[in-house]
């Protein structure tokens, strides 16, 4: 391995086309994921692929990288057709991919993950020393330093992403596909990440940047291609594009942004006083947290993931028991911390991970719709299920909350993320909860679906619910929360009214670079960001 794998001298005139997709079509069952898409990537350019979730961006890139085989069409890299359905061939041709869901083995080291597949499987030994040296060299060159011998499970999300990029660079990638790379990053990390991308382009790479966030696309790309429902709808130079124009192309209709009315907060619904929750394995708990949420208000919790949000959510869901402190619900002290007791006390829960905590993927939509209330008399009599009432209830949820896709008998895992979230939302709101825990409700959803979720939360607020919104997306928080607190290493700041705080300030609090004004703890910020 010599270090000149990304040969700058080969970076020829700007007009050279390094990658050409011709008429790619891919059909999954009845869904046309890609409909006759043709695209070109020029040398040294950043092409943004913009589109809502389910528009076919990832499918297209998976075809390009050989994970899927296209029904028709061809992929040409540096003037040569590459065989279909072979990631190996794609890598050989110089394509690297940073997957949205990282393809890393948590139990193995960084070096293991990077070196996998780079040496002949017949070789009797592995030259780890030179691999390590090469990895460190690449890290230095592109500002992607990671310790080679650390296990992936010990890395932060941002660091894992660096490993993903390093994997591609190690394989001498000259075209890098980045699938929703910023979805998991904090604002500060995103900034650093963009710097990295600029270094990569300078180093002679051509990039395809997949995103559904317009601001990012406008900030980083040279050219934008917009996908909608599997078809390529527009392709323009970024310099000539405007946000509204792109949004329209992406969604195909006007999005109604949720309207947020000023409301007078009501009585206190949920109160924490010096609550401490012990840390689980490898994740922080809560340290003497105090918080008060009233009816008719949304309190936002900002923070980098893994700073105690899970403990807070578990506490409200009845999955964690506090070690000390007082938890009050409707003015009464909570003594039993079980999910059942929380449900009985009108707590609605929108969990962070829809797939593992929100629904049971292999059970039907109807069964999932009553999974929190199946014991109620209308759904069960003397231990027998009442299917008619269940189906009627599910139909009601489906129509009221606009859940589209599969029928009520099909397993719920087949629903798209947005529809799954609508189902969960419907299930929660049908119980008329007085306290709603919304943990990352917009994660992984497209613009339209996020707007819908926000709309529903706001109308629940108007009807008198108290809502705790945990999110890493600061814009989301500033859009709909009334007050915002920042969580960092298990400690919660005071709450700030939304008018009095900016994204930049929140960002500093989130990484611990600015001390909370109420609590005073040293050395918190040194290794953050």
């Amino acid at each position: 391995m010599n270090s000149s794998e990304i040969d700058v001298s080969k970076n020829q005139s700007d007009s050279e086309v390094v990658l050409r997709l011709r008429g790619i079509t891919k059909v999954f069952g009845s869904l046309v994921a890609n409909d006759d898409i043709s695209l070109e990537l020029k040398s040294g350019e950043v092409l943004a692929l913009l589109g809502e979730n389910g528009a076919g961006k990832t499918t297209l890139m998976n075809i390009l990288f050989g994970h899927y085989v296209a029904d028709s069409g061809s992929v040409e890299v540096f003037g040569k057709n590459i065989p279909e359905g072979s990631p190996h061939a794609a890598i050989e041709a110089g394509i690297g991919m940073v997957h949205q869901h990282f393809t890393l083995a948590d139990n193995l080291s960084v070096l293991d993950n990077v070196m996998l597949g780079t040496e002949s499987l017949w070789s009797l030994s592995s030259n780890r020393r030179s691999g390590r040296r090469h990895l460190e060299e690449l890290g230095k060159r592109f500002g992607l330093e990671v310790q080679p011998h650390v296990r992936i499970s010990e890395l932060s999300i941002g660091e894992r992403q660096r490993v993903e990029i390093l994997k591609a660079l190690y394989r001498k990638a000259r075209i890098l596909i980045l699938d929703e790379p910023t979805a998991v990053l904090t604002p500060q990390e995103t900034k650093d990440f963009f710097e990295t991308l600029k270094k990569l382009v300078k180093g002679g790479l051509s990039l395809i940047f997949i995103s559904h966030k317009m601001q990012e696309v406008l900030a980083i790309s040279d050219r934008v291609a917009v996908l909608r429902d599997g078809s390529l709808v527009t392709e323009i130079k970024t310099a000539a594009a405007s946000e509204t124009e792109l949004a329209h192309a992406m969604v195909g209709r006007e999005i109604e942004l949720p309207e947020r009315k000023a409301l007078e907060a009501g009585r206190s619904i949920f109160k924490l006083e010096d609550v401490t929750v012990s840390a689980g394995e490898g994740r922080p708990g809560l340290k003497e947290v105090s918080l008060n949420i009233c009816a008719k208000e949304i309190v936002g919790i900002a923070g980098v993931s893994g700073n105690g949000q899970t403990a807070l959510a578990d506490l409200i869901s009845g999955l964690a028991v506090p070690q000390s402190g007082i938890v009050e619900l409707h003015g009464e002290i909570v003594r039993r911390f079980t999910p059942e007791n929380m449900l009985r006390n009108k707590v609605g829960r929108i969990p962070e991970d829809r797939h593992t905590q929100g629904v049971i993927g292999d059970m039907s939509l109807a069964e999932n719709s009553i999974s929190e209330c199946y014991r109620e008399a209308q759904f069960s009599t003397f231990g027998w299920q009442n299917h008619r009432n269940r189906d009627r209830f599910a139909e009601n949820v489906v129509s009221r909350f606009d859940v589209r896709g599969y029928n009520s008998k099909a397993p719920v895992r087949l629903l798209s993320g947005g529809n799954m979230q609508k189902l969960i939302l419907g299930r929660v709101l049908s119980g008329n909860p007085q306290l709603i825990l919304a943990n990352q409700p917009g994660r992984g959803l497209d613009v339209g679906a996020v707007a819908y979720v926000h709309q529903q939360l706001l109308s629940a607020r108007a009807e008198g619910a108290a809502i705790l919104l945990i999110s890493e997306d600061l814009e989301e928080l500033l859009q709909i929360a009334d007050r915002i607190a920042v969580i960092h290493r298990g400690q919660l700041s005071e709450t700030f009214p939304r008018e009095s705080i900016s994204i930049a300030q929140l960002g500093l609090l989130m990484t611990g670079q600015q001390n909370f004004s109420t609590t005073n703890y040293p050395s918190a910020g040194n290794n953050a960001s």
Binding site: F28, N62, F65, H67, Y68, V69, G85, S86, P87, H88, A89, A90, I91, E92, M97, H99, H101, T103, L104, A105, D106, N107, L108, D112, N113, M115, L116, G117, T118, E119, S120, L121, W122, S123, L124, S125, S126, K167, R171
Partner: protein, 313 residues
């Protein structure tokens, strides 16, 4: 203190290592399969096949090592069958494995009867002789246990080292681990998950079959029905006990075998005051206890028992 004196007895240690040998092979084979993400419950049947084929090859006049080779090949074939069903087709690994065990066990007996229809008491073969390593075998108490065993036992110890080296020090070992941890990651690095998993299962199954062959070619010198007698299942437990590490697998197999050898001697010592079944039970009870203590912090291969289908949404 007679029950303590057993530990000073050379024959106890020799027996422990001998009993451990098939377990070492079996556990090693299962570790290879499970590291690649495939649970192989066919182990019990594959060991039976190995025992029968190895013995039969020698009985028909071939050399001992030819017998071992044939046993390994036949084990590999059943491994291939298991892999075909569970890897490209993605069938349930539990059900397939149990099916393989039933099939292979019955088939062994069937073939045995087919070839030797008239035989009543199981005929014996000229089996492996203990190989004395001069000097070292004279070490008191444990010398003979480690250095006066049959060649297959030495082979088992060497296999542990080789498998550990391959798994942790070579590219192919890394690939095997990766398909067991995160097959999507392996594929994204250009590896063929199906081929790697299949090869790992075939290779692991060959080891299991050699473990079975040890019983007929180094221990009992004859093949009879039901002779594996749950050793395969013990190996499955030992894999968990060993946290999927070859070195610990060796340790676990030796520990279990030592319990077994000890209980046999204890039986003779105490006589009929206590029903002998209590002693028979002892190693199993102890292995359950050991599992409880040891497997608190086990690291399962994360994709164990998860079929991988390329391009599936």
């Amino acid at each position: 203190m007679e029950w303590l004196e057993i530990f000073l007895n050379t024959s106890f240690w020799v027996a422990a290592v001998r009993i451990a040998t098939p377990l070492i092979f079996g556990t090693l084979g299962e570790v290879i399969c499970e590291k690649a993400g495939v649970l192989n419950l066919g182990i019990e049947g594959i060991m039976t096949i190995g025992a029968m084929v190895g013995w039969m090859t020698v009985y028909q006049g071939a050399g001992l090592w030819t017998g071992v080779l044939f046993a390994a090949v036949c084990g590999g074939i059943f491994g291939l069958l298991h892999a075909m069903l569970t890897v490209p087709l993605g069938l349930s690994q539990h059900v397939t494995g149990i099916g393989i065990t039933l099939l292979a066990t019955s088939l062994s007996s069937y073939v045995y009867r087919l070839i030797l229809p008239e035989v009543n008491s199981p005929p014996r073969i000229q089996a492996f002789e203990p190989l004395d390593i001069p000097g070292l075998s004279a070490v008191p108490i444990i010398g003979e246990a480690l250095f006066k065993q049959t060649p297959l036992t030495y082979f088992a110890f060497i296999s542990v080292i080789v498998v550990a080296y391959v798994l942790y020090r070579t590219p192919v070992g890394l690939a095997v681990q990766m398909v067991g941890e995160n097959p999507a990651a392996a594929e994204a690095q250009g590896l063929n998950v199906t081929i790697i998993r299949t090869c790992a299962v075939v290779c692991g199954s060959a080891f299991m079959a050699v473990g079975g062959a040890f019983l007929t070619m180094s221990a009992f010198n004859a093949f009879f029905f039901n002779m594996i007698n749950g050793r395969g299942w013990i190996c499955i437990a030992l894999v968990v006990f060993a946290s999927w590490r070859p070195g610990k697998a060796l340790l676990g197999a030796l520990l279990f075998a030592a319990f077994d050898a000890y209980q046999m001697r204890l039986q003779q010592l105490i006589g009929s005051e206590i029903p002998y079944q209590i002693f028979l039970m002892m190693p199993y009870v102890l292995s359950i206890l050991a599992l409880i203590v040891m497997s608190r912090r086990v690291g399962y291969p994360q994709a164990l028992m998860v079929p991988y289908r390329k391009g599936e949404r």
